[in-house]
Symmetry: C3
Subunit: 316 residues, 3 copies
């Protein structure tokens, strides 16, 4: 798509050369064929060093654009960005692709739906009611239990187990908000990558990324009802006990242990080997590895135990 097409869709003008746009991305991750966007002044530095050639931008930030940039000046970059994502949205199903490729020794139930463009390894089990979307890739020996839904473009590794009712790759929860209080959908054009040897419990939901990928790294095990939001990166060999949730773009290092009903805010960076006891509420990044945490607000587990004793004394 040409930048002029984007401008036309947004009913805005573009300046600079009309160039071909393949997709959209955040400033710091954009390539030369992607449309980037700069909303806040705090991005002026990232703007200067961006590899993108085309931008959605406010008037105030134009001076920080790299030389030879093409750009669309937006009154509200957040809204325009959301509107532009719709142009790069892929339909839930691609009908024009050729058939799926299924390896040897697989069991694909006749009542499972495997869309065109899927590539499945050998010795894979896909049970009745499972849905495998367009372009999904599944590695060897993986078991997909009944009524699992894997949205298009997801990647699932080898030796994985995905239990019934889990949903991989649904849209992340992303909207821009108008002054009138309406919510404009930011189309979620990324995907989910699940590495090898991951087990996902029943009725989990792992959302696709807005751009790029949500990642569950190898050897990680999720219990039931785990919510992983868009653009999370969950480290290797982590454990998530039931009914926990991770907010968007939060990164956990390897071998984290997250006990039941805990939750993480978005955009956090959690050190490896961190342990969270039941119902921890994590709202800040953690830089030192190996800690044990509790409570909401979060604190060291020892402090939390001491604090609970002090609180209980209030009743004396």
């Amino acid at each position: 798509m040409l930048l002029s097409d984007v401008a036309s869709h947004l009913k805005l003008e573009f300046l600079g050369k009309d160039i071909e746009i393949e997709s959209m991305n955040e400033l710091s991750l954009s390539s030369s064929s992607q449309l980037a966007f700069a909303i806040h002044k705090k991005y002026s530095y990232e703007l200067k060093s961006s590899k993108a050639k085309a931008f959605l931008i406010t008037n105030a930030l134009i001076e920080h654009l790299p030389e030879d940039s093409s750009y669309i000046i937006c009154e509200d970059v957040s809204i325009s960005m959301a509107e532009a994502t719709k142009l790069f949205y892929k339909k839930p199903i691609e009908q024009r692709l050729s058939h799926a490729v299924v390896g040897q020794e697989c069991y694909i139930d006749a009542m499972a739906k495997v869309e065109k463009g899927v590539v499945i390894g050998s010795n894979v089990t896909v049970m009745a009611g499972a849905y495998i979307g367009t372009n999904v890739v599944i590695g060897d020996n993986t078991i997909i239990y009944p009524n699992v839904t894997i949205y298009r473009d997801s990647v699932v590794g080898s030796d994985c187990i995905i239990h019934a009712g889990s949903v991989i790759g649904a849209d992340g929860f992303g909207f821009s908000h108008t002054k009138e209080g309406k919510h404009i959908k930011i189309y979620q054009n990324g995907n989910v990558i699940i590495e090898n040897d991951v087990e996902i419990g029943a009725n989990c939901a792992i959302d696709r990324a807005v751009f790029n990928s949500t990642i569950i790294r190898r050897g990680t095990k999720l219990d039931n009802f785990i919510h992983i939001a868009h653009n999370c990166d969950i480290g290797e060999y982590s454990l998530f006990v039931a009914q926990t949730g991770v907010g968007g773009s939060t990164t956990l290092g390897r071998n984290c242990v997250v006990s039941g009903q805990s939750a993480f805010s978005d955009h956090l960076d959690i050190a490896p080997f961190s342990t969270f006891t039941a119902r921890s509420g994590v709202t800040k990044s953690i830089s030192n590895s190996g800690g044990v945490y509790s409570g909401f607000p979060l604190m060291n587990h020892r402090d939390w135990k001491k604090l609970q004793a002090r609180i209980a004394k209030l009743n004396d």
Copy 2:
């Protein structure tokens, strides 16, 4: 059904004229063809002004009945009401209806189940494994992802997106309790109405009303794992972050923002433009709009922040 049939089912006598009953409803919402019920003395005023002509009632409340009422005197109105709801229960599937009506340019996967009596607008996508129950109505341009279940009689608007694994219209959690501790099902004979431009995340559950409708108003967006109980009314353009729950008959005004793992008790009335930070526990109605709240018990967000600081000092 005649009131005499209801009495016969309950093994109780009726007094007054034998009249035709179409369905049941709460006192204040009943029409002249509905069977109402009065359990507590506090309903004596509502009783006087009720439009219903037929009642389940305790002996103590008979004096408050409107003139010319027909009624069944119950030892335990709550139990009799539950038993009576079974008479008006609609089977999960109606087999006798004619075919579904599907508009133009729709994609209905051959592995989706669309029951008879369904009406679907134009340009609607219903993916594999989705279930669309008897008499469901779906508006234009709506996308139903795989393995979504929409129970009979639900109404879904135009331009909606319902992500995989979500369940619309399952029975609300309603029981009457015997003295021996058994739970008698109150059949949930209402429905769910989802207005236009609503997005529902993966693995949500929105229960049908016991009588009347559970309503999600236009432009509201739900993240994953949202629980909306029977008879809720969720205002326009509200946002629900993952793993939140709303108890039965609770009403939220427009543009509320409910952060992750928050919950509301039943029978609350929440003012519009209210914001709830993560893990808020709301147990009382809120009458002033525009507030920001936190904690459980709930308080103003500023008070909560101050309180957390004070609590932390206990450990000094």
Copy 3:
């Protein structure tokens, strides 16, 4: 399978007679044809009185073995136990069984999947997208709503209702952990038993037992999003409000009431007629019946109310 086969799989030697092993079980529950295991010294007493004839055991515990035992000495019994469970794992689907048996007056939707070896009573409804696994037994009059998944070997009683999206019998969350931080799956070879007159809401998950059974006893009612972990035993006529979770091997007596978003740790024993208000966090067993509890850490409801008032005063 012979004990020598188990030893060979574990790459360990066995001592004593080579005997036939039918399955595995915990020490105290093992029969003479089951392989038991003893990890900690605290099991030395149970070891002496065990009915098992074959054991996975550490060197330090050999002296406590019953006479004439056969055994495999393990460096890490936990890891060896996990590896051994794989030998007794039943495939998700048995293809060699004869057809399912379905009683009279049933409605089994053509888009439901009923595996071979299933036994279904009379007047049962199985709706589109439901999955009924190998050897599942379902009693009379039960309704299975769309997109429910019932894993193999589960037992569902009569007069039950299972709402859409619920998952019965997925693997419990059980792993042994290597020194390098990897998680070795403990195959969950038990099942789920749901007794008569149980209603399960939408999108619940009740995990199968590692050995033996997870049990939901008669007349119990679950709201939406309830998580019941492996080997739980939930007493008769209990009520679970939405988004609650119960950890592994926890037992609740009859007529417990568990309010929304509450949770129980694993291995607890909860007295009958206990009531838990919203968001209770239960980490210790309760031996006296009839109490009302709140908070996390849990306390008597009255104390909790008093404590909340005291805490609120900190802000004065």
